[in-house]
């Protein structure tokens, strides 16, 4: 089974970097730079896990999260934040985010977390 991951960040370099990191680990990776593109990719690419930046121009991460969870409740979403703004994290968890991780990222932790989410999906939960 191919592991599919969508990376959403307005910073192209972050997307590229994470893309190559996960592709090296046998993931199939798609990227999006804003909320609208992310929603489109979720529908078309059907990822299992989405890494979603909270702070984005236009539709922000929280709004995008809500729409993803509304339309594709099975997709696991890990929020990526530049800073731990407690309110936003709480809001994200309330909206159904599956975890959050702060930048700079610990890749080891991130990889493990993404893998965990995929394992959970495989078990059907």
């Amino acid at each position: 089974m191919t592991k599919k991951l969508l990376i959403v960040d307005d910073e192209a370099e972050i997307c590229e970097f994470l893309k190559s990191f996960f592709e090296d680990r046998d993931f199939k990776v798609a990227t999006a730079h804003n909320g609208a593109a992310a929603l489109e990719q979720v529908a078309r690419f059907e990822p299992e896990v989405v890494l979603l930046d909270i702070q984005m121009p236009g539709m922000d991460g929280l709004q995008t999260l809500k729409k993803i969870k509304d339309n594709h409740p099975k997709v696991k979403v890990i929020m990526v934040t530049a800073v731990e703004t407690q309110e936003k994290i709480e809001e994200a968890m309330r909206l159904g985010a599956d975890n959050y991780i702060t930048k700079p990222l610990s890749l080891e932790y991130l990889e493990k977390d993404v893998q965990d989410k995929i394992d959970l999906l495989a078990k059907g939960t």
Binding site: Q55, A82, V83, Q86, E90, P104, S106, L107
Partner: protein, 543 residues
């Protein structure tokens, strides 16, 4: 002695209006006055009049021209009595006035001296603007000079909308301070009705229905007073001078009351001025306070915006730098890097995390206590923080010991902020100690004071005295690689919880940071109750 009498006359302006008013009070205020002084005066007048009359009757035949001796009524036995009666009627008023003057001059000098002292005081008070000082002087001098049992001065408290005791004589300050008269209490209602007239307990109570009398008596009892002098300035009640006499049946005469009125008219304006000054000071203080709060808030908002902006801009490049280094470090097998390269990459990962911490701390500081609050086990947070530092400490031969109160309560706070406190204090200590030394963290709950005390001491290089007051300033640091936000943030968090932090230090010996957080016994109990299982665990391991 100052020329106080003219002064008193001048200040007695409102006297005219004092003479008017409801007749019922005027009647009751003076109808019971019978002092020894009055009796003495009356008998002296009678004696002098009798002597004058007798003398005139005796001398009458000698004074008449000799030609008149034949007139039959000259020898009438009722003539001396008639003459005496005429003398009595004609000379009564002047003689009484004369006697009164003589008596006041020679026999009641003590009393007029007392009055002069008090009027002198009133003159002195005119230049004083300190309410407390005025109140103390008034009650003490009034009480001492007139030898009263209690004297209490009440002044209006515009914030609470009631009257509070400014100073008391003859009973303890602590007892008197408990007395507060709301503006709708019977006594104040009465005073507002009757105006500047002196209230006398007995007559006033008699003139009221029993319910009203009871209610008023309660107010007077609470003040331990038999008399109340209202102090009015331009129609505004600026104070009440209540007093009780040493002897139960003491009565004051008309002269005394006249003096009380003059005295109250003299001190009223002083009190009024002092009250205005006090209110102005209060307002000024409030203004300053809200202004500084506003400035602080604006500053914090600006910092928050800046920090959030910086965080977003900086954390992305940091994520990439750190990420690339981590990718290299994860390489296994033949691709594995040399140890020195691995070291360099580890440093890069660590330092990017530190750089990110700066903006994180700034944000934490500027956002205030907005994070969720929970029951925090301080011991658990401390241990987690110590675990973070253990690696560095073991490298540098630093011994970290902890000494915890076995009955440490849980504390309601934002976990992250508490972690921040420990981390900053410990990081600071580790830096101070350098290569080798000891760090001790002590936590105890001072039950009587309801204070949670966290002490972090080190055997480091110490802080020079001239820097002690700067260590909590933002961006103050003695190290090149540090930012200088740690202790500042710690202080801000501590203040947010209503606590305090201070430092004691000696160069070459070490430093000790003492952090105190208020933690009421009530709160501590609740915290214990919430997760009992864990609290047993934490108190056990704290031993």
């Amino acid at each position: 002695m100052r020329p106080s009498v003219p002064n008193a006359r001048r200040l007695s302006g409102p006297r005219a209006c004092n003479e008017e008013g409801p007749p019922v009070l005027k009647k009751t205020a003076f109808s019971h006055v019978r002092t020894p002084k009055t009796l003495l005066k009356k008998s002296l007048v009678a004696l002098v009049l009798f002597f004058l009359g007798a003398l005139s009757a005796y001398l009458l035949p000698f004074l008449l021209p000799s030609s008149a001796t034949w007139v039959p009524w000259v020898h009438h036995p009722l003539l001396p009595i008639f003459v005496m009666t005429v003398i009595f009627v004609a000379a009564h008023k002047p003689i009484e006035r004369l006697i009164k003057k003589l008596l006041e001059k020679y026999f009641f000098q003590k009393k007029s001296f007392a009055q002069m002292t008090l009027m002198d005081l009133a003159g002195d008070l005119a230049v004083n603007l300190d309410l407390q000082e005025i109140a103390n002087l008034v009650v003490n001098t009034f009480g001492e000079v007139l030898q009263l049992k209690t004297v209490t001065l009440l002044v209006p408290d515009p914030l609470q909308n009631n009257f509070e005791v400014a100073s008391a004589y003859g009973w303890t300050i602590s007892a008197s301070k408990k007395v507060r008269l709301a503006v709708d209490t019977p006594l104040l209602k009465m005073v507002h009705q009757t105006g500047p007239h002196i209230l006398m307990r007995g007559p006033v109570l008699q003139s009221l229905s029993w319910q009203e009398a009871n209610a008023l008596a309660r107010d007077l009892d609470s003040l331990r007073a038999g008399w109340v002098i209202p102090l009015f300035v331009k129609g505004e009640l600026v104070g009440l001078l209540a007093f009780g006499a040493l002897v139960p049946d003491t009565v004051f005469d008309q002269g005394d009351f006249h003096f009380f009125r003059e005295f109250s008219a003299a001190i009223g304006p002083c009190l009024h001025n002092a009250l205005v000054v006090k209110r102005l000071r209060q307002l000024n203080f409030e203004l300053q306070d809200s202004q500084s709060q506003w400035v602080q808030k604006t500053k914090l908002n600006a910092i928050e915006k800046l920090a959030a902006g910086i965080a977003h801009e900086i954390h992305n490049p940091l994520a990439i730098i750190s990420g690339k280094a981590q990718v290299l470090l994860m390489q296994k097998g033949p691709k594995q890097l040399e140890p020195n390269v691995q070291d360099a990459l580890n440093t890069i990962v660590k330092q990017t995390r530190r750089a990110a911490d700066i903006t994180r701390k700034l944000l934490l500081y500027s956002q205030g206590s907005r994070g969720p609050q929970e029951w925090v086990s301080l011991e658990k947070v401390l241990d987690e923080t110590l675990a973070l530092l253990a690696y560095q400490a073991s490298l540098d031969k630093i011994e970290i010991t902890r000494s915890l109160d076995p009955e440490l309560p849980r504390y309601r706070a934002n976990m992250q902020e508490i972690r921040e406190i420990f981390l900053n204090l410990l990081l600071n200590a580790v830096e101070a100690v350098g290569q080798e030394g000891k760090i001790t963290v002590e936590m105890k709950y001072r039950r009587e004071e309801e204070i949670l005390e966290i002490t972090c001491s080190d055997t480091g290089k110490g802080i020079p005295e001239e820097h002690l007051d700067k260590v909590f300033n933002p961006f103050y640091t003695t190290r090149h690689e540090a930012v200088g936000l740690g202790l500042f943030v710690t202080q801000q968090i501590t203040h947010r919880y209503g606590g305090s932090i201070r430092v004691e230090s000696q160069v070459g010996v070490g430093s000790m940071f003492i952090l105190q957080l208020p933690c009421s016994a009530e709160t501590a109990r609740n915290g214990d109750g919430e997760k009992h299982g864990e609290s047993i665990f934490s108190s056990k391991s704290g031993r």
